[in-house]
Symmetry: C2
Subunit: 206 residues, 2 copies
Amino acid sequence: MATQRGAYKKTAKRREEILDAAFDVFSRQGYTAASVNEIARTVGMTQPGLLHHFGSKLALLEAVLERRDQLALDILSGRHDVEFLYGLLEIARRNKAVPGLLRLYSILAAESSTPDHPAHAFIARRLGNVVGGTTRAFEEMQARGLLRDGVDPRTAAIEITSMAEGLQLLWLQGIDVDMEQIIRSHFDSYLTAPLDASFGRLGADA
Amino acid sequence: MATQRGAYKKTAKRREEILDAAFDVFSRQGYTAASVNEIARTVGMTQPGLLHHFGSKLALLEAVLERRDQLALDILSGRHDVEFLYGLLEIARRNKAVPGLLRLYSILAAESSTPDHPAHAFIARRLGNVVGGTTRAFEEMQARGLLRDGVDPRTAAIEITSMAEGLQLLWLQGIDVDMEQIIRSHFDSYLTAPLDASFGRLGADA
């Protein structure tokens, strides 16, 4: 039993090492150009040995992306209304600490825009979920009279999602932008009163 | 003399064929993964023969991007103030007709976000020029009292540029967005009166 637990721990550790190496290579080279052989060499394995753990290059990519998204999902989970907007701000704040992760995501989002790309469904669903979640949050706020006249929840959600994607790109390219502050002031432009002044944090983390 | 002109025409035609093939391969595969050999084969040349025309893969990429940008530069050239904003709307409208071109640009913009990527300087300068030109247009409008109180020209320019970049990505991923309409209504949100109602087209093409 102790030996089985030890073997499981070792496999889990190996898996994490592979995902770290895969993240590094994918974020420098993008999915198409990335070499599974290079990832395998980095962790001292052969290509067949590595693929024994993950099955395929695509499965490896999906495992890397899922690890990235788990944190964002944890932050947004169960949030509604104005709390959801605070969750988006928290993600924007945390993103500044992980430029390599942002770069990987940006490359994949652009690469995968053809329907036949292996990551297309994942990225399209992810963008759709962000637009959908933000639309619902704005609808809930509208029902409470917190949106300015003429603000359409879905249009506002598309504007915010687009802006967040584009701000990441500008920031990665070295243009000096405060992503969190710009998104926050943009939220305010949709609301009858500023985010902080009117609603407090409503349970979101500081 | 007639023979020399013929030879020149033939070279120019060859160059255009190569650029068409390069655009096609780059826009499907991105810069890093794109194969110069495949581009050469498409136009019935050898790789050394093709590189004789352009010198390097990077020079080929730059020629493709310059051809893309010439139209946008022609549209924005000499425009100021509100006319510059109409120029941006015209580019957004035309972009819908060339998804392959947008995809190439999006992939390169993401791929080139590391300073050592060969297209980094080109993309960073291009984004900087759009932010700079839009900032100046908003400053000119502010001087004429056309911006709402509290609108900062540079922040507004960064918001519009980011949103345009992000909208392209959402649209390429199959999300139903009207890029031109969203940017237009966003312009209006900065202005003391709607773009069309207040200023007319001021010389921009219909």
